[in-house]
């Protein structure tokens, strides 16, 4: 067994074990942390496939941003997880049957030929000066410019949707208005009152 194989089996088993833990641990915070571990192991496998840019993006975006946000949500919301688990025993037989059937079908398909090792040639290692990031950049802005722009439209749409669904104009909130604060004139705030001098006793 070469070192490469060893590394692959290590990362693959970590990924599978961690993924199994995500759905079995009781504590949602731990589940989220295991999900991070899964992403990390998968990123390592991508790194071995010489997709270094995608591997780093996976860690930066998913581990760095998405999962941290997810953890915040889990910690901030008071979700009663016991209540969510109610009815588990009732739906288990149906769910388990469907899951086993799907698994069986997938096994039949995956062992039917096209996925056998001899069907897929081992990738030729790229030259030392080959840059995955460079190639990706070239492709995205030329060949895939249309889907790239559409993805940008989708991000705009997601922003609009999030704002439409959450923004509420509330009256009576105490907020600072810097614009008005800087334009204040003396006469708005200070009132000079003419008073007669008082007599000394």
């Amino acid at each position: 067994m070469t070192f490469e194989q060893l590394a692959f089996y290590f990362f693959a088993s970590v990924a599978i074990l961690a993924a199994a833990m995500v759905v079995t641990v009781r504590n949602p915070v731990r589940a989220a942390l295991f999900l991070i571990l899964t992403f990390f192991a998968v990123a390592c496998i991508w790194m071995m496939l010489e997709a270094e840019f995608l591997a780093i993006v996976l860690i930066l975006v998913y581990v760095g941003a998405v999962m941290v946000l997810f953890l915040f949500v889990v910690m901030m919301l008071d979700i009663d997880f016991d209540q969510l688990r109610e009815g588990f025993a009732e739906t288990l037989p149906i769910g388990a049957t469907v899951a086993v059937l799907v698994l069986l079908q997938l096994v039949i398909v995956l062992t039917s030929g096209p996925f056998e090792l001899e069907q897929v040639a081992a990738p030729v290692p790229a030259a030392a000066d080959y840059g995955n990031t460079h190639q990706l950049g070239l492709l995205i802005y030329t060949y895939y410019v249309y889907p790239f722009e559409l993805a940008a439209v989708m991000l705009v749409l997601a922003m609009i949707a999030a704002i439409v669904l959450t923004l509420r104009d509330r009256t009576g909130t105490r907020s600072q208005k810097p614009h008005e604060q800087t334009q204040v004139k003396r006469k708005d705030r200070v009132r000079l009152v003419k008073m007669n001098a008082e007599k000394k006793n």
């Binding site: 096209p114 989708m154 609009i160």
Partner: protein
């Protein structure tokens, strides 16, 4: 590299998105002073979009954006219908939106982006652009369903729609990834060439096809993937249901054509067998369960499920005649649905939703004209001659008979007879029951005239029915 970016054929899409961004900004500054400005700007955008789309009529099929965008006769006709139906739908729903405090510039921006998504789907010749167009449409629709945040039913409907829509997208994506595994390409034309010699015992190919058909089934809302439709139709604001029930159906037609016909025509035997089961189940369940509904919108939801079954009949015949019959069916159904929901919106007023069948009791005494309009729409939905609905059903069943699927055609006709019962019950409720409460119609004149025109057209368009059928036929024949 210049020749690959011939963006001219995508002018309507580019224009609509630019205007959506512009309306978003303009609304921000003028919302308080000129509240209706974004409505009129949206309508102007759609009119201009239709004008730009008409310019693309009758040209040879062209692909652009490296073969990810295809412009052909089918895409032009479907896009024009999408923009036209959206435009009419917005006229019907303006008063409803204003009355319920849902009027915001973003409502129209979301509608425009949904239209953009549908147009992208219609012109997709690559799995990536197809999927991105589908998600643009779905994301806008999820938001539109939930736009009335204070209504519990609307939020629940949006949640159901979102979860099931995500499952459907997942199925579709998984099917696409399996197809990529089989053919090594995401380009629909390349895939079609690659699977040419493959047999139906190729397990991977079949599994991919099954997942894609399931994904399509979810998006079309055919049995057994229909669970979301009744809840959405009942729970969402009627103005949004009007939109969901019309234009996206045409986009769904285009998606079916792009995937099953453009991509997998050579394994048509396999997918048409799967579609037979979906179609028979949809026609049966849709027509039978609709009988038990007391809510008008929910009844129309089950009617939509059965109509999707009929629409599939044309696709099942797997030849150009059948596809053009399906396109014709979809256009007629969307047009009829437009009138049906337009009339529901007309009968609703501030603080009152005319959504129960009992709300229509004795409508004939007070508003004989609108009762007649609703009756026309119901006749067309049931497929009674001499309305256009009859010709729509006739053409898909004719397509089946042409390919000797007589037993399926007989089942379709029998189930249509069962379906006629609940449509005619509405007519009976309006004409022969005693009215309960007084009804006033508060909708503006433009919507009233347009909805009357829409319903009358279901009958009056008869002399030109051949022209529309020819249009559908030439659209299908000019596909690239």
């Amino acid at each position: 590299m210049n020749h690959i970016l011939n963006m001219q054929v995508a002018t309507p899409e580019i224009f609509i998105f630019s205007m959506a961004c512009l309306i978003l900004m303009i609304d921000l500054y003028t919302h308080d002073r000129l509240p209706l400005l974004s409505y009129w700007l949206t309508q102007a955008t759609l009119v201009a979009g239709i004008y730009l789309g008409l310019g693309g009529m009758g040209t040879e099929p062209v692909t652009t954006f490296n073969g990810m965008f295809i412009h052909d006769g089918m895409s032009v006709v479907v896009k024009l219908a999408i923009m036209l139906f959206t435009l009419i739908g917005l006229v019907y729903s303006r008063q409803y939106i204003l009355d319920r405090g849902m009027y915001r510039g973003e409502y129209y921006v979301l509608v425009l982006i949904a239209v953009l998504g549908m147009m992208v789907m219609t012109s997709a010749s690559h799995f990536l652009s197809l999927y991105l167009g589908l998600e643009l449409l779905s994301l806008s629709l999820y938001t539109l369903v939930a736009i009335n945040r204070d209504s519990d039913t609307a939020v629940e409907a949006a949640m159901k729609y979102f979860v099931l829509g995500a499952v459907a997208s997942g199925m579709l994506l998984y099917g696409m990834s399996l197809m990529y595994g089989v053919t090594g390409s995401l380009d629909i034309k390349t895939i079609s060439a690659a699977i040419q010699g493959m047999q139906s015992d190729d397990v991977m190919l079949m599994l991919g096809l099954i997942f894609i058909v399931v994904g399509l089934g979810f998006k079309l809302g055919v049995v057994p993937f229909h669970m979301w439709i009744p809840d959405i139709y009942q729970g969402a604001p009627t103005s949004v249901v009007l939109f969901i029930a019309t234009a996206p159906k045409l986009a769904a037609f285009a998606m079916v054509i792009r995937l099953l016909v453009d991509g997998f025509q050579s394994i048509a035997v396999n997918w048409s067998d799967m579609l037979v089961i979906l179609a028979v189940l949809s026609m049966a369940l849709g027509n039978i369960v609709a009988i038990a509904q007391a809510n008008f919108k929910r009844m129309l939801a089950y009617s939509a499920i059965s109509h999707m079954g009929y629409f599939l009949l044309g696709i099942i015949s797997a030849n150009p005649n059948g596809y053009s019959a399906s396109l014709f069916y979809m256009i007629i159904y969307a047009f009829t649905g437009l009138a049906a929901f337009g009339l529901i919106l007309l009968m609703s007023r501030s603080g009152f939703e005319a959504e129960n069948i009992s709300d229509y009791r004795g409508l004939n005494r007070e508003h004989p004209w609108y009762a007649f309009m609703i009756a026309l729409v119901m006749f067309s939905m049931a497929g009674l001659p001499p309305t256009v609905g009859f010709y729509a059903k006739l053409s898909v069943i004719q397509a089946l008979v042409d390919v000797n699927m007589i037993s399926l055609a007989v089942i379709a006709v029998l189930l249509a007879v069962i379906g006629a019962f609940y449509y005619l019950r509405i007519v009976k409720t309006m004409y022969f029951d005693a009215p309960e409460a007084e009804r006033t119609i508060t909708t503006g004149l433009d919507a009233r005239v347009l909805v009357s025109l829409n319903a009358v057209m279901l009958l009056a368009v008869m002399p030109w029915i051949g022209t529309i059928m020819d249009l559908c036929m030439s659209a299908i024949q000019s596909m690239g």
